[in-house]
Symmetry: C2
Subunit: 147 residues, 2 copies
DNA sequence: GATAAAGTTTACGTAAACGTAAAGTAGTTT
DNA sequence: AAACTACTTTACGTTTACGTAAACTTTATC
């Protein structure tokens, strides 16, 4: 139950901060399937959701091809034959493993950023100490130090 | 205190499952700076760490250029002038925000995968019910059902 | 009814991250 | 010494994900 049912290409472009070129490209690659009124594209709220998923996928390091695979697979899954359902379950399981890896990577990165930040702050503190020791002992720079 | 001090290109390639081509490319882009014995590259454990960081960066969706920027910045930071230190701190802060975004993306993705998996299992359960209703009522398929 | 605004197609261009030969060198195994 | 193995450089090719320009239609506005 979205507020609006259909969207123009520039509405979506503005909302998600992408170019219309990108959106047309995604359609070309069959990640979006807007309907048409004449030549003009009309995007449904389903298209909108998919665009959101595409962009999130990109932020997570997924290629458009990977994202398209998931879309296609999910569509097939909805038509509900057993083989497709089982395939989807194993793929979901794989993706979960991938997310676990990403979470580990992020946790590692955060730890390293913690130590990096600590070192920066230490180094800054060192610099401050030296400044305070030098400034009062140096007549020539007194004016410069006040700026 | 690593086990080994130096590595050949193929050792690193094998350990991290990348091609030697990639490693040479990373050197070409100045993300790695191995020394040489004659023409042959000799990688230090610092290079090894950097390679690990490069690959993690890729998994997290970072471009080589971004990773190089971080490397360079960190090198400059070590030479410790105040401006560099402050710049590094703000960049760290930005990266943290980026990681937060990624964590949100992952959490969202996990939730959606939960509901997707649930739907799959429901659909499968439906199929099983129908099978059990049909199989005993159908003489012709009794043998096939036992396979 | 001219003109701007938003949309369209077609098509060539580009940056990133390697792949893939081609051809040569350096060490070492038989 | 010949062959094999691991390494090297040079350089052109490829895929992905768009950018950018050109030329054209459709719709809204003055």
């Amino acid at each position: 139950m979205d507020i609006k049912q259909t969207y123009s290409i520039s509405e979506l472009a503005k909302e998600f901060d992408v170019t219309t070129r990108s959106i047309r490209f995604y359609e070309d690659q069959e990640l979006l399937k807007p309907s048409r009124r004449g030549q003009t594209r009309i995007f449904s709220s389903k298209d909108r959701v998919r665009l959101k998923l595409i962009l999130r996928g990109k932020r997570m390091g997924f290629s458009l091809a990977e994202t398209k695979e998931l879309f296609d697979l999910w569509d097939e899954t909805l038509s509900g034959n057993e083989k497709q359902l089982l395939k989807m379950l194993t793929i979901l399981s794989n993706k979960r493993a991938q997310l676990e890896q990403q979470k580990n990577d992020i946790a590692q990165a955060e730890m390293e950023m913690d130590t990096a930040e600590a070192r920066c702050r230490e180094a800054l503190a060192e610099l401050q100490k030296k400044k305070k020791q030098q400034a009062p002992a140096n007549d020539e720079n007194r004016q410069a130090a006040e700026n």
